[in-house]
């Protein structure tokens, strides 16, 4: 009994009722609401991917009907992009950590934050309804005039779902921007901001500026389908390529929504497990903003063979090479951060190192597809599929898992079994490469994407890829088991199990409802992993 009394009140144990969760305006609880919902969508989208890989194990269409196959890859794309990747790190770890990292009680607009989650759920409900009503076969890209005039599926339900979820990400972005500007603790200058916060700040800018264009574009599709307005239909004066410009004006920056937060996570993890300051803090923060801004000017590289002018193609190619430079700086700086560090290899670090390797491959093959003449050949083939999965899955999902493992003790107050964590990280790395590396070769050989059946000579590489999928699936299921196990049986973590330097580690785990008992005052840079120890470390605790 005495133990019970001595247990501190924290954000988790203050109230266990379901109502307290569904009406919470605590950013930490909202992070959990998102975590549970995006996990469900992750496995839903993953199930679609599993069926796709099963079908592609043989050249003939023998597992599912062609129509089913087309609906599966569309569902996989829509769910994974808008209901997992876009909200993944910002809405879970970002929501949980940004106020903690800047020494604030909550985000600037806690009610708006809860509204964001409800919008996400409503958008998700539309998407589930769309899937139950038969789905769509447009691909996640909804290209016109197929989507507006030809497709038979639930296109309107699908775009409404995406539009609503889009507003959720606009509001999250808005919340983050205002929070970071106005709510930093005394002494936390911009130059002392953790890179995770910088990364989410850069992401928030893209969310706020690009997502409205997506909403407008998809609304135009719905209007064209329902009222026959000639926006994209050439028969009534429209232009189908206009859709591609509008769509990629959002969706290319959205690729950076899906990678910048991962870069932030990895910067936190590598500094902590190398016990070293980040190499080139200013350059790292500047690179995040540069990627976010230049990222708005490269959308035309999706249209090299789609009917944009040759000159536009050349300019967009040049800009695409430009946006790769800051990404290159980041990779080199992560490597340089390890130099003269004191490196250890716990689970989060394995994910972070895996991220750097896979992101490098994804980035370099991005250079390959930015090279116009080569893109003409590999565009719309499996080369592109492999390339963006190296960024989205090899990059963002690895970073998300790394972050989840790094901050799990903070979020739950418990430690998971590190051995199982490492096994899962290595399984995911191996399974990922087995699944996606053969697809580079397939694409170069000419296998087009979105093919239900394919010529016999592509089978060997497809079988390799399909063989990787179950390994990857096991890798993703393992954390579900041992993380849940740790909630009840994991050892108590204490405030700072990794001996990390961020403000979030200066408060108990799990944190109290209002994050800090006393207003923190920041007196030093974010990554004061000095070797030897600095005086300021002692002063701080």
């Amino acid at each position: 009994m005495t133990a019970d009394i001595s247990v501190r009140k924290n954000y988790l144990n203050r109230d266990y009722s379901i109502a307290s969760w569904l009406t919470t305006i605590d950013h930490k609880r909202i992070a959990w609401l998102y975590l549970v919902s995006i996990t469900a969508f992750f496995f839903f989208g993953g199930a679609a991917a599993t069926l796709i890989r099963l079908e592609l194990a043989t050249p003939a269409g023998d597992v599912v009907e062609t129509e089913t196959y087309n609906r599966l890859f569309s569902l996989h794309g829509i769910v994974m992009v808008w209901f997992f990747l876009v909200p993944s790190i910002p809405a879970t770890l970002g929501n949980f950590l940004i106020p903690l990292m800047i020494g604030a009680r909550d985000v600037a607009f806690p009610r708006l934050n809860l509204l964001s989650w409800y919008l996400y759920v409503i958008g998700g409900t539309f998407t589930l309804a769309m899937a139950i009503a038969g789905g769509v076969d447009t691909g996640w890209t909804f290209y016109t005039p197929y989507s507006s005039l030809f497709a038979n599926g639930q296109v309107v339900l699908a775009v409404v779902g995406v539009i609503v979820a889009g507003f959720s990400s606009i509001l999250t972005g808005l919340n983050f921007i205002v929070t970071v500007h106005n709510m930093r603790a005394p002494g936390l200058h911009w130059t002392r901001l953790p890179l995770f916060v910088w990364a989410n700040y850069a992401t928030a800018i893209i969310m706020v500026l690009a997502t409205p264009v997506l909403a407008i574009t998809l609304l135009l599709i719905a209007l064209e389908r329902i009222f026959g307005i000639g926006i994209f239909d050439p028969k009534v004066g429209g232009d189908p390529v206009l859709f591609q410009h509008l769509f990629w004006f959002y969706s290319h920056p959205a690729v950076y929504i899906m990678i910048l937060p991962g870069m932030g996570v990895v910067s936190e993890i590598i500094t902590c497990f190398a016990r070293k300051r980040i190499f080139g803090y200013d350059g790292m923060a500047f690179a995040l903003l540069a990627i976010a801004l230049i990222g708005f000017l490269v959308w035309g590289h999706h249209l090299f063979v789609a009917g944009e002018s040759v000159y536009a193609g050349v300019i967009f190619s040049l800009l695409s090479f430009m946006v790769a430079v800051p990404s290159g700086i980041k990779v080199f700086n992560w490597a340089a951060t390890l130099y003269k560090g004191s490196v250890s290899f716990e689970t989060p670090m394995l994910y972070a190192l895996g991220f750097v390797g896979l992101f490098t491959v994804g980035g370099l093959t991005g250079i390959t597809v930015a090279a116009t003449a080569v893109d003409v050949h590999v565009h719309d083939t499996y080369f592109v599929i492999a390339h963006f999965h190296y960024i989205m899955v090899g990059g963002m999902v690895m970073a998300y898992f790394g972050g989840l493992h790094f901050w799990w003790p903070k979020m739950t107050g418990r430690i998971y079994p590190d051995r199982w964590g490492r096994i899962a990280a290595i399984t995911i790395f191996v399974g990922f490469n087995l699944t996606f590396f053969p697809q580079f070769v397939l694409g170069y050989l000419g296998m087009p994407r979105r093919y239900h059946t394919y010529p016999d000579e592509f089978q060997l590489l497809n079988v390799l890829s399909s063989a990787g999928a179950p390994v990857l699936a096991i890798g993703y299921l393992l954390p579900l088991v041992y993380l849940l196990y740790s909630l009840k049986w994991g050892p108590v973590a204490g405030p700072n199990p990794w001996d990390a330097k961020g403000l979030e580690w200066q408060t108990p785990s799990p944190p109290p409802e209002h994050n800090f008992d006393r207003l923190p005052v920041v007196t030093q840079e974010p990554y004061a992993y000095g070797l030897p120890k600095r005086d300021s470390d002692a002063a701080r605790s």
């Binding site: 003939a60 197929y146 090479f321 390890l338 003269k340 370099l364 565009h379």
Partner: protein, 316 residues
């Protein structure tokens, strides 16, 4: 279908156009750059991680000049990237400008087939015959959605955009039969919208072009109609309940399930290859598939015959 498309006499990805070698030269240079970069970076990461692992007794005092190092590798990357950009853009601009003397062939994409028409009017479906060593310009149009003309062996690809004419050009440099794919998702049978490009000696091409007997004629179609046994069910006086074919071409056909389709080339083609998919209202789905039993040329002949039953000219 997959079996019909197999191209067994060629390597996995032949270089069959003058462009192919040059794209490959750039591509494999890029692969080389990628491999070097991956080796250098993973070497640095693994090397540092192992050398400076916790507990190792190594010198950890550092005063690395951060900004200077960053500037050096940014400029290095920029230089490499600009070189790749210029090389690729040079090729891309050339790909966009066909020579004036190029042989012009017209192509139409529709869900889910390719139709070509040569300069003397000869037409073909899902096959494209081209002469070796002669620049060929294909003018692309689409009847419905966006498609994409993709011949991997030539390293060319160009989308077909509704409401516009697009062009793609190449100079075939190797005799053989190569895949033609639709690369832009175009609906249900996107993955079956495949064809073949056949590169022939110029003299052979001229002979092929002039050979009107190879043109699908209603008479040849009629022969196939009886030899394949179509006549047993669709012929006049047949006891089997099969829809009559006289006069149907170009007319709306009510389907089981309430939909209606126009009996055009695609519909007839589909009805021969996948009869169970679009069954005429009021009939049982008893027709067997002829996929694998009739090739593309036979299909065009059968279509020509069925067209002639509606008093149309016997050309697809």
């Amino acid at each position: 279908m997959a079996g019909m498309d197999a191209v067994s006499d060629t390597p996995l990805l032949p270089q069959a156009s003058t462009l192919a070698e040059r794209v490959d030269a750039l591509f494999f240079t890029l692969v080389g750059v990628d491999v070097v970069m991956v080796l250098v970076l993973s070497g640095l990461i693994v090397g540092f991680a192992v050398h400076y692992r916790r507990g190792a007794r190594v010198n950890r005092t550092t005063d690395a000049p951060e900004t200077k190092t960053e500037i050096v590798w940014s400029l290095g990357l920029l230089a490499v990237f600009l070189a790749i950009f210029v090389w690729a853009a040079h090729l891309y601009v050339e790909e966009a400008s066909p020579p004036n003397n190029a042989l012009e062939i017209h192509a139409i994409g529709k869900q889910w087939m390719w139709k070509f028409q040569h300069q003397n009017g000869r037409r073909e479906i899902n096959e494209l015959h081209v002469p070796l060593g002669v620049p060929v310009k294909v003018v692309l149009a689409t009847q419905d959605v966006i498609h994409s003309f993709f011949v991997p062996a030539f390293r060319v690809k160009q989308d077909l955009v509704p409401g516009r004419f697009r062009t793609v050009w190449f100079t075939p440099s190797r005799i053989g039969r190569y895949h033609l794919f639709c690369a832009e998702y175009c609906g249900l049978d996107h993955s079956r919208m495949r064809g073949r490009v056949i590169v022939m000696e110029p003299a052979e091409y001229e002979a092929w072009l002039a050979d009107v007997s190879a043109e699908p004629s209603p008479a040849q179609g009629e022969k196939l109609f009886s030899s394949l046994g179509c006549i047993a069910c669709h012929g006049a006086g047949s006891k089997v309940a099969a829809p009559p074919l006289a006069g149907i071409f170009g007319k709306p056909v009510p389907l089981k399930g309430g939909r209606t389709v126009i009996a055009d080339e695609t519909y007839i083609r589909d009805s021969i290859l996948t009869p169970e998919k679009q069954v005429v209202a009021g009939y049982e789905p008893i027709m067997p598939s002829f996929a694998g039993r009739v090739n593309e040329s036979d299909l065009t002949r059968l279509i020509a015959y069925i067209k002639s039953l509606s008093g149309e000219e016997g050309r697809p």
